[in-house]
Each structure stands twice: as structure tokens, then as C-alpha cells.
């Protein structure tokens, strides 16, 4: 199993933070749709990968030592041709080295630019008394400023998943607001259940963040993911 292998490799290397590429492999295996992601170690390779994927693409720094990629200038969005990709690659590497000179950098990931959807987040953390707990919320400012999130203790039932989505104040946004497309709620429930099932099976995982997930009328896609292992 991919996830077992990734986790055991990381712990052998003494790492607790998985890279985005590793996290997405694990989530994909758990049945959660993620944006396609490929590692590139040179600007040339990044450009070629992007061309194969189709434009526009996103480039993101890949390093076990960099958890907050935007803080180090490690993310470039909406790149429309090979030239832009090559330039972005160099800028990301330069900026990351400047901000985190000691970080071990694997390269840069190339991912297709996802079409806009409703941003949601799903997280897992461990409560001292109750063990793994899932969090659900709308992404961006709603979670950061208004703390509009809901919690449930793992394992979740289908009903728990439905309730925790309905419970947030921003729920009407998911139902389709002023002509915007609604989100496929059942699919979001399904993701919550899959995360619940998966964290129950992998007690080595200490924290997990899928942020953001883009929710669409007919699908849902994880754009970024972060997994921290127990030390």
C-alpha cells in the first residue's frame, strides 16, 4: 500500500512532515480526488511537464522543511506557457532559498490550475481526551476570521458527516447562492467519511489538512494537502 510505504519511509528518514506530493498520493489512495501533481527538478523539466498537462498550471515548492509555501514565495498561479513556467521555476527556487537557506528542497511541483469552485477545508487533529477529531469549514476568510467550522469525533457516521456540513453558518453558500453553482453536498459527505475511515486506519497520522478543496456541482477536488505524522 502506497500510504504505508510513504509513512514508513518518512519515519525512517526521521521526518514528521510529508510533502504535498506524498500527502496527495495518500489521499488519492484513500479515494479522495486531488489535482494531478508532478515533481520537476529543473525549469526545463517543469516546462515540459506543464505542456503535457495543459495550461494554465500552478507551480509550488516541494520541501519537507517548508510547510507554509506562500510565505516563502513558493507558489505561482495561472502560468500560461512554457516561458512563464520556466521563469516561475527559477523565481520560486531563488525565493525559497532566500527565505529558508537551510531547507532541503526536492524541487517544484507542477499542477494543473483548477477551475474555480466553492472553497472548503477539511482537517483532522487529535484531541487529548477524545482522539482524532475532524473539522469542516468553508475556506478562506470564513474559516480564518469567523471561525465558521464544525467538529465531529472519529469515526463519523453518514449522519455526522451530513450534520457537520449543515451546521456551519456558511451552509447556504454550499446550496448555491445568488445564481452561483451549488456544491455537491453528498460528495463532500463522502470525502469526510473517507477521511474518517482513513485516519482511523492510520494512527501514525497526527494532523491532516486538506485546504482548499474546490467543491463543484458535479465534483470536488483537493488542491493542497498537508499531513503531519506522530513523532
Amino acid at each position: 500500500m502506497t500510504s504505508n510505504k510513504i509513512i514508513s519511509t518518512a519515519s525512517k528518514e526521521g521526518r514528521t512532515a510529508l510533502t504535498e506530493i506524498e500527502a496527495k498520493k495518500i489521499l488519492t489512495e484513500a479515494g479522495i480526488a486531488c489535482t494531478e501533481i508532478k515533481l520537476a527538478t529543473t525549469a526545463k523539466e517543469a516546462a515540459a511537464t506543464a505542456k503535457k498537462m495543459g495550461f494554465p498550471v500552478v507551480l509550488k515548492i516541494v520541501s519537507q522543511d517548508i510547510l507554509h509555501k506562500t510565505d516563502v514565495g513558493g507558489v505561482k498561479l495561472n502560468l500560461n506557457n512554457e516561458d512563464e513556467v520556466g521563469k516561475a521555476f527559477d523565481e520560486i527556487m531563488k525565493s525559497a532559498k532566500k527565505h529558508k537557506p537551510k531547507a532541503k528542497i526536492d524541487g517544484v511541483s507542477v499542477q494543473p490550475m483548477a477551475k474555480p469552485g466553492i472553497e472548503v477545508i477539511i482537517g483532522m487533529s487529535k484531541d487529548q481526551q477524545f482522539g482524532p477529531v475532524l473539522m469542516f469549514g468553508l475556506g478562506g476568510i470564513l474559516v480564518e476570521v469567523l471561525k465558521d467550522v464544525s467538529f465531529r469525533i472519529v469515526p463519523l457516521t453518514k449522519r455526522d458527516a451530513r450534520d457537520m456540513i449543515k451546521e456551519i453558518k456558511g451552509y447556504p453558500i454550499l446550496q448555491g447562492y445568488r445564481g452561483h453553482d451549488p456544491a455537491n453536498i453528498e460528495l463532500l459527505e463522502d470525502i469526510l467519511l473517507k477521511v474518517s475511515e482513513f485516519v482511523e486506519k492510520q494512527p501514525e497520522i497526527k494532523e491532516l489538512d486538506i485546504n482548499p478543496i474546490f467543491a463543484y456541482k458535479d465534483g470536488a477536488l483537493a488542491l493542497d494537502a498537508r499531513i503531519i505524522l506522530e513523532s
Partner: protein, 473 residues
């Protein structure tokens, strides 16, 4: 050796009780609290200065627990904390059903010494699989058998509500305030620091207790959250569990640490726990009482539509505000209902739309009863709410007359006939003394009454949510 759960059952339904270490300095509070115990009561005390005091209570004293010539089902320990390890060993040797440790000065003291001592007694109890309640607690209350932890508590009449309380004060208050509201206790336990037995163990016990139909909990923290999660989920499937969580803010959590050495935990996770398990959350003693009362004395709430009967126009407005603020709807009634009203209802300065403004129809008892009957039969209504206005009754000189008793009789009769949930709001206004008398009469007839529109609406919300969740499982 019989298993721990059976021994716990012996302690909750004891035939014999030993009080170890009660003394004059405590006012012999334990021996006095047990004075109505229906089984055999013994004292264990080695200090001869206490002998006359114990003898004057008519209670036989022994120097050692092992000297008592019969099996002991429940022991209360009130000895100094340093002596507790030896006394707990004595209880184990005597095969006592359970012992509750009133003594404090353990983990809740925040000292290393206290924590070590708690670990010592917990280890002794765990090694012997012994039921240790506490320390730092008031232990068991069984009103039917007269097992009490306060002389103020009633004895003789048992009920069907169990209460599990981490605090002795809340256990006592609930047992005192409950009967004033028609809530009678099957058994309750105050369990303090939970060194060995925790809320989960009592929950499991009451979940299986045939006398108990509803379980209330006051809780500050838990040792094994996963176990509480799975047990609560199971128990709440067949008995309503009402949970009052103490210590929800940062300052409150500091208080729980020094009160029962509990880790209070995140309020958001406790909320999630209660919702996920299908329990009911309350935030204070009065919500606990109101919610329990509604569960006990009203039929299951089928939905969110209320039929509101107020005594005056002003009250008809604010009763509607109170219930709609809690998410209820006060829909218009059916055509059939309006036809029925038209036949008798005096509409001058009054209204029967919903909310009802009874006003000038009031002096006619039959019109009030007919009005709530129509609400009860209306297909658009799930719960009937009747305002009982004490100032109004006082003005009409109905209080302390047969008229008033006849009214209560008729309302009680309606409650039995009505197929839907029915509650009353007792508005006191300035007539507080009279309101107390009225409340007593309502409670005696099992008519659920609430002190304000708001508290009634809040309790109805909690109970309606409970039934809605249950019916959609």
C-alpha cells in the same frame, strides 16, 4: 468474587451501610444523613471521644470494619486523607460493594503529595477491581432506600431519573430542586475526582438500571474520552441523556482543575460529542430541570409547529417572539379550527388566529379548555402552549378558590386527553407568593410548567431536537 458491576449494584441498592470516620467536627453529617436508611447502618470510629456522640444517635459503632457481623454493601469514608489507603484495603477485605471517599486533599489540591496519594489509592482499588467512588465527593443518593448525603434530601419516594454529577453541590441541588418540579430520582452519584470509577462507568450502570428512564449528567472532564464516546452513543439510543458540561472557558477550566482535577477540554469537541451521541446539551441547573421535566411529563414533540394560547394581547405578542426565536413556527390554524372558534369565541379585544389572545373569554373556563382542545386537534399544530397568568388569576380572585382548583383539574384532564405535547408557562408577575402555590398544584398533576416564555421555548427546542433526531435515525 462477584464482578464489579454486581458489587456496584449492591452499593446503589444497599441493605447495609457503614460510615467510616464520621465525627463531631463534621456535625456527624454522614450518620445524620443516613438516619432514614431502611437497612442496617453502622459506624466505624476508633477515637473514643466520638463514642458518646455516635451512641446518642442510636448507631452501633465498631472499631474496625471487619468487626461488623454482616456484609457491607456501601461504605462512606470520611477519615483523614493519609489514612485512606488502609481503610480502602479494609473495604476490599470486607468485600464492600463500593466505597465513596468524602475525604479531599488529593489531585484536586494541585500538590505533588495529593497527586501521589490519589495514585496510591487508585492503584490499590484497581488491583483489587474495587469500586472506588471519588475521592472528594458526596457519593450515592437513593431516596427510595433513604441513602442520602445531605439531611435536606427527601427520602421515601423514588423516581425514574438518575443523575451523575462530578460536583457534590450540583448533585445535592438537583436532588432538592427536582422534586419541586415533579422530578424524582432513582439514584444519583457525586463522583468528584474520578480516580477509579468515572462518569462512563456510572452511565453504563444507569443505562442498564431498570428503575432509570432518563439520565442527567453534570461533568467537568473525563479520563477516557473514547470510552465515554462509545458508551454515551449506546446508552443514548434507548434512554434520553441530558448533559451539563461545566468549565467551558479558560477561566472555567482553571476552576475545574482545582475543583476535581479535571482537564476540561475544548468546548467545541464536547458539543460535537453530545450531538454525535444524540444526547441533549444544557448549560445550567435550570435548563437541566426544565428539559428533564419536559421529557418526563409531555408527550414526544412531533415537530416545530406550536399553538400558543396567551391571556392578553401583549402576552400573545411576546410568547410568539419567544417561541419563534427558538426556531418554532406559529402557523395559522386549519379552516375547521376557525369554524369551531367562531361558534363560541368572544373576539371583541381578543383573537383566535394563533397566537390566541384569550382576553375576555377568560372568566369562562370551558372556553379556555375548548380553545386548547381545538389547538390540540388542529393538524397544523405539534405542541400546545398555554399561558397561566397568576396576576390575571389574582385579579379575578380565582386563586385559593374552587374555581382555580377546577381549572387545574380541567387542564390536567386535557393533558391526559391531548395526543400532542402540551406545556404551560406560569407567569408570576408581581404575584410571586401565589405563583409558588399555583406551581405546586401544577406539579402535583404532572403538568409541565415553566417560569418564562423563554425558558419554556428553550426546553421545548432541546426536546424537539432530541425527538426529531431520534425519529430520523
Amino acid at each position: 468474587m462477584e464482578d464489579a458491576l454486581k458489587r456496584l449494584d449492591r452499593a446503589f441498592n444497599p441493605r447495609s451501610v457503614a460510615v467510616i470516620g464520621d465525627k463531631m467536627a463534621l456535625g456527624y453529617m454522614w450518620l445524620k444523613a443516613m438516619s432514614h436508611f431502611r437497612g442496617n447502618l453502622y459506624s466505624v470510629q476508633i477515637d473514643e471521644r466520638e463514642f458518646p456522640g455516635i451512641a446518642s444517635l442510636g448507631i452501633k459503632n465498631y472499631l474496625k470494619l471487619s468487626d461488623i457481623p454482616e456484609e457491607i454493601d456501601y461504605a462512606v469514608i470520611a477519615v483523614p486523607n493519609t489514612v485512606t489507603p488502609r481503610i480502602i484495603r479494609d473495604c476490599i477485605d470486607k468485600n464492600v460493594g463500593a466505597a465513596s471517599l468524602f475525604t479531599s486533599g488529593f489531585a484536586e489540591s494541585g500538590t505533588d503529595e495529593g497527586r501521589r496519594l490519589q495514585e496510591t489509592i487508585a492503584q490499590i482499588a484497581r488491583d483489587a477491581n474495587f469500586n472506588l467512588i471519588g475521592p472528594n465527593c458526596m457519593g450515592i443518593y437513593n431516596p427510595r432506600l433513604g441513602v442520602r448525603h445531605s439531611m435536606d434530601q427527601s427520602h421515601g419516594r423514588g423516581g425514574n431519573v438518575a443523575f451523575i454529577s462530578q460536583s457534590g453541590t450540583h448533585a445535592t441541588f438537583f436532588s432538592l430542586v427536582g422534586p419541586l418540579n415533579g422530578i424524582y430520582i432513582s439514584k444519583s452519584v457525586s463522583y468528584g475526582n474520578a480516580a477509579v470509577l468515572d462518569s462512563t462507568d456510572y452511565l453504563e450502570y444507569f443505562g442498564n438500571d431498570a428503575e432509570t428512564e432518563i439520565i442527567g449528567i453534570y461533568i467537568e472532564g473525563v479520563n477516557d474520552g473514547r470510552k465515554l464516546f462509545s458508551t454515551l452513543k449506546e446508552v443514548a439510543k434507548h434512554k434520553p441523556v441530558v448533559i451539563w458540561k461545566g468549565g467551558t472557558g479558560e477561566e472555567g477550566q482553571r476552576a475545574t482543575a482545582s475543583h476535581t482535577s479535571s482537564m476540561a477540554g475544548s468546548p467545541a469537541i464536547w458539543d460535537a460529542l453530545i450531538k454525535q451521541c444524540g444526547a441533549i446539551k444544557v448549560d445550567n441547573l435550570y435548563e437541566l430541570i426544565d428539559t428533564t421535566k419536559l421529557l418526563l411529563h409531555a408527550r414526544p414533540v412531533a415537530g416545530d409547529r406550536v399553538g400558543l394560547a396567551a391571556m392578553t394581547g401583549g402576552q400573545s405578542v411576546v410568547i410568539t417572539d419567544a417561541f419563534t426565536r427558538e426556531g418554532f413556527k406559529a402557523p395559522l390554524l386549519s379552516e375547521a379550527s376557525y369554524n369551531k372558534f367562531a361558534a363560541f369565541f368572544q373576539t371583541l379585544g381578543a383573537s383566535y388566529r394563533n397566537p390566541l389572545d384569550i382576553s375576555l373569554n377568560f372568566p369562562y373556563l370551558d372556553r379556555i379548555i375548548k380553545s386548547i382542545e381545538i389547538l390540540g386537534e388542529d393538524e397544523n399544530i405539534d405542541t400546545v402552549v398555554l399561558e397561566i397568568s397568576v396576576p390575571f388569576l389574582k385579579d379575578l380572585s380565582w386563586i385559593n378558590t374552587n374555581l382555580f382548583d377546577t381549572m387545574i383539574e380541567a387542564v390536567a384532564d386535557f393533558r391526559k386527553r391531548c395526543a400532542k405535547s402540551f406545556i404551560t408557562i406560569l407567569v408570576s408577575g408581581h404575584a410571586e407568593q401565589e405563583a409558588l402555590e399555583v406551581k405546586k398544584k401544577l406539579v402535583a398533576k404532572d403538568i409541565p410548567c415553566f417560569a418564562s416564555f423563554e425558558s419554556g421555548a428553550r426546553a421545548l427546542r432541546k426536546v424537539a431536537d432530541y425527538y426529531q433526531r431520534k425519529s430520523s435515525l
